[in-house]
Symmetry: C2
Subunit: 417 residues, 2 copies
């Protein structure tokens, strides 16, 4: 029994001019990882026949699985299907099920007449096996060559993900892959290297079939134990004992013993105590509310937010005093505190988060440079305020600030400070 390796090939000119980020690769890599298939490499090429052929050769060199996305649209710049047809020495035929799918989509979903160009989407090389695309018109295609299996999917993430729902069980059936088990502990308040010192003995004694990974992110470090084995219950037992030992070692810093996002952790804490929350956001512009409400069921604890981008709104809706703004400025501890007590009153929630700062690129001064942020969290009785200095791009500053604000709220919920 040997390990199974995969390559991912993403196709599209837009990937090569930095216009869009290749999110498909990371998503696919995660899915493969879960079922015990490791990645050898990821390749992105343009809508260019020689480069696509080179990538197919390269990708299949040491990989038994090659996953391909993109270049399957109905327009002329999309050439993946034709290149694959030629590469696997097939000829184009109409796939009946795909034809019906295209007709169904246009009639029932898009409610538009179907054109000649759209019908072409139902053509596939006769040497492939088709996976129907319930979410769009370009079918998935499975090819075999030598010892590798090639799977071509559309580049639209939602469509690709739908097809992957069929690809994953197909790969599990075809390759007898071991069960991979991950167990994650979320820690906060300790850095990666200090944590490593703390659990050095544990790590040294860890059986070699269990791997430990440190995954630092936004002031948290995830500790992940991973192992794989063909006997699932035996594998689970082996990792369970180590997981229990590790939890005991890091209990002081443990945020959760499962793999959750910060907004999920905060949501869980609120739900457990039947508490509610609201946010008052200036520089994050709604990003914290957006993270909180990205969790399904968040309406049970989230009542709302006031995004107060202008000083006028800070005064009128949150009751920040004009004198405070004049004396300390909008970006100050005092303003953050008043925003917080304002939102707690307005929304009548048990807890609140307030944020004010300068995300850049403009708006900074010598006294308050770009990246200066004040976060206040708390309830009516007690508040905690922290100043942060972010040093990234505007987009990243907003993202980091939002997660750090949630982390501050989490700490307050747990420790009351």
């Amino acid at each position: 029994m040997e390990n199974i390796y995969a390559s991912i090939i993403t196709i599209g000119d837009e990937l090569l001019i930095g216009q869009v980020s290749d999110t498909n690769s990371a998503w696919i890599a995660q899915q493969l990882n879960k079922i015990g298939i490791a990645l050898n490499n990821r390749i992105s090429v343009g809508d260019d026949a020689p480069e696509i052929r080179k990538a197919l050769d390269f990708g299949s060199k040491n990989s038994q699985v090659v996953l391909i996305t993109g270049g399957l649209g109905p327009t002329n710049d999309d050439i993946t299907k034709n290149v694959l047809c030629e590469y696997f020495q097939g000829k184009m035929i109409v796939n009946q099920a795909s034809l019906e799918n295209v007709k169904r989509l246009f009639e029932k979903v898009y409610k538009k007449p179907v054109s000649e160009v759209n019908l072409k989407q139902a053509e596939v090389p006769d040497v492939c096996e088709v996976i129907q695309n319930q979410r769009g018109s370009a079918p998935g295609m499975v090819f075999k060559k030598d010892d590798s299996i090639f799977i071509s999917m559309p580049g639209v993430p939602y469509e690709m993900q739908g097809i992957m729902e069929e690809v994953i069980p197909m790969l599990q059936k075809k390759f007898h892959v071991p069960a991979i088990i991950h167990k994650t502990i979320l820690t906060s308040g300790i850095g990666e290297s200090a944590l490593a010192e703390e659990i050095k003995d544990f790590e040294d004694k860890l059986p070699k079939e269990i791997r430990l990974a440190y995954l630092p992110n936004y002031g948290m470090v995830r500790l992940r134990l991973s192992t794989s084995g063909f006997d699932k219950s035996k594998t689970e037992n082996a990792i369970k004992n180590q997981f229990t030992a590790l939890k005991e070692l890091v209990k002081e810093f443990m945020v959760a013993d499962e793999d959750l996002t910060m907004q999920q952790v905060v949501g869980k804490l609120l739900l457990e105590n039947n508490n509610t929350i609201s946010t008052a956001e200036s520089c994050t512009g709604g990003a914290i509310a957006s993270l909180i409400t990205s969790v399904a069921g968040s309406s049970a604890y989230f009542k709302g937010s006031v995004v107060s981008y202008s000083n006028e709104i800070k005064q009128e809706l949150l009751g920040v005093k004009k004198e405070t703004l004049d004396a300390y400025g909008a970006v100050s501890e005092q303003t953050a505190r008043e925003m917080l007590s304002g939102i707690l009153k307005k929304m009548k929630t048990d807890f609140g988060i307030a944020v004010t700062g300068i995300m850049g690129p403009g708006g900074g001064s010598e006294e308050k440079p770009v990246g200066t942020v004040y976060v206040a969290v708390g309830n009516k009785e007690d508040q905690a305020v922290q100043k942060f200095k972010q040093r990234f791009t505007r987009e990243k500053n907003i993202e980091v600030t939002s997660v750090m604000a949630l982390n501050l709220m989490r700490k307050f919920l747990v420790n009351g400070d």
Copy 2:
């Protein structure tokens, strides 16, 4: 004089398990694109010697420039420098300038004693030219082999970007590169294939040195013309004529004749008329405000938002009538209209966007299934309301709804309906 092509190789195990997105590639691609160097491909491999060598072979096959990031850290899992040393048949020597840089960093910036492991960062293969890294301890390295130039840089984006400031002028000096010109038209209200039918004749007659790409996203399609040439003004003229012709052909659907996001288009329209905007968001939970404020300078037209996740907040902060909620429900055209007039009053802005709906997975009913959304946009005098039916995951439903709401606002700003 021929075109110059590049490959990007990013190295690191974390890139292959989907844990982090490869943002370096997109950034580097953009920089190269600006100076007329086109990308042949992008490759990501793990910290694995055979895979790195394969990638170096692959990347340099048709590319004169190979840019490499990652794997230059001081710990044992980072092997890029040793693999490069062997690949280019060099031997390791201490680079004096790099040594002084490491000592300076530890003394002045990190304020920590410098260790044996850290000093190793100053060792480089004797066959490379060094580019000093002002922002970290791992130096940049330039190698030459056959007709290709290889540049190795650290994976930390901030450090890589610092080294690229020296790489770009070096490449411009070494290669006489052609100008690459892109011209983009944003369209809305027409699908990719219908658009293709519409401009079929144009596309068929397009000179082969000008490429046309269709980039669909959220009910918009970007049309991009690209070309390159050594005589910049001649090249610009050639594409300008085609661009003018294309704009004329699609004018009915044209949103902008430059490459903007929906929130940038809306922001531009508001700025041009010195108008302000606010949002009242239920199901989007602040995502629209978050998109609007992702644009630098948005404080000139965005005043704020009320995220009213609970009915209570809809009534108290936005003045939605209890009778309306009782009679029609929170997810209704009537509630959307009242949310809109409420936010216009509260924020005193010229225009407003209000959204209420059910994003799933729970909360749906037979009458109002998951995905039902009402969007109201307008000003005090006039409002437009549209009902949408989204059919994706919660996350995607929120994203799509947000962009569609901005698009509705855009249409209202342009046409007044």
